[in-house]
């Protein structure tokens, strides 16, 4: 898919971000960002820290509220209901329901510390989806197997390595059967030797056809797995295109500088 084709507004897009701006006080974290993502696509977002890439991700699952623009997720406008010419803010419960379309993986894992690996995974299906315990325990066990942690089901997060915690966190997000997985620098808080095990799980997930938006500094992973790469700086999308273009022969000077700095 070309950058031109995938501007906001595509009818088949599962995520459409249109002219979104976000301010933290006077600081403009996102400046008129538009992006659309087709189902089954792996979208990587790269850029220096403070470039707004994590903020964009957090806006998509409404951990942050956007100040301007609109986001459509799986055919539904998020955060608002359109009533004639007005947008009415949604209630807490409606926003919670909309979040079910996305699964989020955090930089710092954020596993529930008072729950074992298995309990972390079944918590959502149990209390939010209200599905029967027996069924979801079986499913969670299968998910743990999928991320290679079947033997850790009764371990607390404090007993797991960073890589193991992140894999449980991915399983926890998958247990909600989201349509899109959002990864917010999933390997940035990991010791170098643990990065590989998390990237392997993400690779498998991409191969299974999951739609993924991945904010990352792992350029190797982006080049291998992404269908499309966005480079962001200062709250704007600077460049977008196929990984072999953006990561290897970028057209913009800022992209070139960033990639050179990361590879150094």
């Amino acid at each position: 898919m070309s950058a031109v084709q995938s501007q906001a507004g595509s009818d088949t897009a599962i995520v459409s971000v249109a002219h979104v701006s976000k301010f933290f006080g006077p600081f403009r974290a996102l400046n008129d960002v538009s992006l659309s993502i087709e189902p089954g696509m792996v979208q990587c977002i790269i850029g220096p820290s403070g470039s707004g890439k994590s903020t964009l991700l957090r806006c998509i699952n409404q951990l942050e509220k956007i100040d301007q623009g609109a986001i459509r997720l799986d055919g539904e406008l998020i955060g608002y209901r359109r009533v004639g010419d007005e947008l009415h803010e949604l209630s807490d419960a409606e926003i919670a329901r909309q979040r079910l379309a996305t699964g989020m993986v955090f930089q710092r894992f954020n596993l529930f510390n008072h729950m074992t690996a298995l309990q972390n995974i079944i918590e959502g299906p149990l209390t939010v989806l209200k599905r029967p315990r027996k069924e979801i325990v079986a499913e969670a066990t299968a998910l743990l197997e999928r991320v290679g942690l079947a033997d850790k089901r009764d371990s607390y997060p404090s007993e797991l390595s960073g890589g193991q915690q992140q894999r449980v966190a991915i399983a926890r997000a998958l247990a909600m059967r989201p349509k899109i997985m959002l990864f917010d620098e999933p390997t940035s808080a990991l010791d170098p030797e643990l990065v590989g095990e998390v990237l392997n799980v993400m690779r498998d997930l991409a191969a299974s056809g999951m739609t993924m938006i991945v904010v990352t500094h792992e350029l190797g992973f982006a080049r291998e797995v992404a269908n499309d790469v966005v480079f962001m700086a200062r709250g704007e999308i600077v460049e977008r295109g196929a990984p072999d273009v953006v990561l290897v022969a970028p057209t913009q000077a800022r992209t070139r500088e960033f990639i050179a700095a990361v590879l150094k």
């Binding site: 951990l63 919670a96 979040r99 954020n110 008072h114 074992t116 149990l126 009764d154 997000a173």
Partner: protein
């Protein structure tokens, strides 16, 4: 290291290692212990020889009036603490709410009930009938205040509301101690604010909340004695009633002191197990956890 040590020094050191060790003698400790024991012996003999009728202590330790007073003390401790914890959680959540009215009300509540003496609050509740002869919802129902707010109600409201103000701050501190990442992760799996609080934040805040609240339960057992001034028949008041009649003042005070100590000791043991339970994620055997997942109700 080894190359700087000559073979002879090494051999000498090996020989030294064989010598008998004479433990250090702590003469100071012996002197201090002896002095303290002497003081204790003197105190014990003073109490034994003093004008205390120990058989009376034994006789009244299980007297019906004392036991019913003990019962009332325990009931009040449980009720006032329960009210205090419920109010504490509610006002802590209100305090942290984005709604400025809720936050203002919580602030006022904490300010008022922490800012005035407990004894004064008890007297206000007990004398509420002077201000409001009847209470109720106008047009629907109403009661005479004097019937509703007797010694029990006044004590419960006084101790409970006062406790709530302190517990609110403890609960707020506990909630703040939980990393915001936990809340974000809960939101990300579609939990609402209240579910997040109930399932994710409060259970983790408990580890911080339980030790001070446990302490306050122990304080509350003793604090109930203040209610004796508004005629609530707890153990101290019943002990007083008895000694007004038989003039065995110290004996009955010893009886009451003995019961307070007994109850507090039991509570301290209970607190130990409670704290161990809420340090989940930091211990416990694998097998117990595996079993817990299967049994735990939703």
């Amino acid at each position: 290291m080894s190359d700087t040590t000559s073979p002879i020094a090494g051999r000498e050191l090996a020989a030294v290692a064989q010598l008998r060790i004479v433990p250090r003698r702590f003469y100071g400790r012996w002197v201090a212990a002896a002095a303290i024991l002497a003081v204790l012996a003197w105190l014990v003999s003073a109490f034994v020889e003093g004008d205390i009728a120990w058989p009376v202590v034994g006789q009244f330790f299980t007297a019906p009036a004392i036991l019913s007073g003990l019962g009332n003390t325990l009931i009040m401790t449980v009720c006032a603490m329960a009210l205090g914890v419920v109010l504490g959680v509610v006002f802590a959540i209100m305090y942290m709410s984005p709604n400025p009215v809720l936050r203002g009300v919580a602030l006022f509540y904490i300010w008022f009930f922490r800012g005035t003496p407990l004894l004064l609050q008890l007297l206000i509740w007990f004398n509420l009938a002077l201000v409001f002869p009847t209470i109720g919802i106008p047009g629907l129902f109403s009661w005479r205040t004097i019937d509703v707010i007797g010694p029990f109600m006044a004590t419960l409201l006084g101790l409970g509301m006062n406790q709530g103000a302190y517990t609110a701050e403890v609960v707020r501190g506990g909630i703040l101690s939980v990393d915001t990442g936990q809340t974000e992760a809960a939101k990300a799996i579609g939990m609402t604010r209240l579910t997040t609080l109930r399932r994710i934040v409060l259970p983790q805040a408990m580890r911080v909340i339980i030790p001070p609240v446990g302490n306050e339960v122990i304080s509350m057992v003793k604090l109930t004695s203040v209610a004796s001034v508004i005629q609530y028949a707890e153990i101290l008041r019943n002990a007083q009633t008895i000694y007004y009649a038989n003039a065995r003042v110290i004996e009955l005070l010893i009886v009451a002191a003995g019961w307070y100590l007994l109850v507090v000791t039991l509570l301290q043991i209970g607190q130990y197990f409670l704290e161990r339970h809420f340090s989940k994620g930091r211990g416990g055997s694998r097998k117990q956890r595996a079993a817990a997942v299967e049994e735990e109700p939703a």
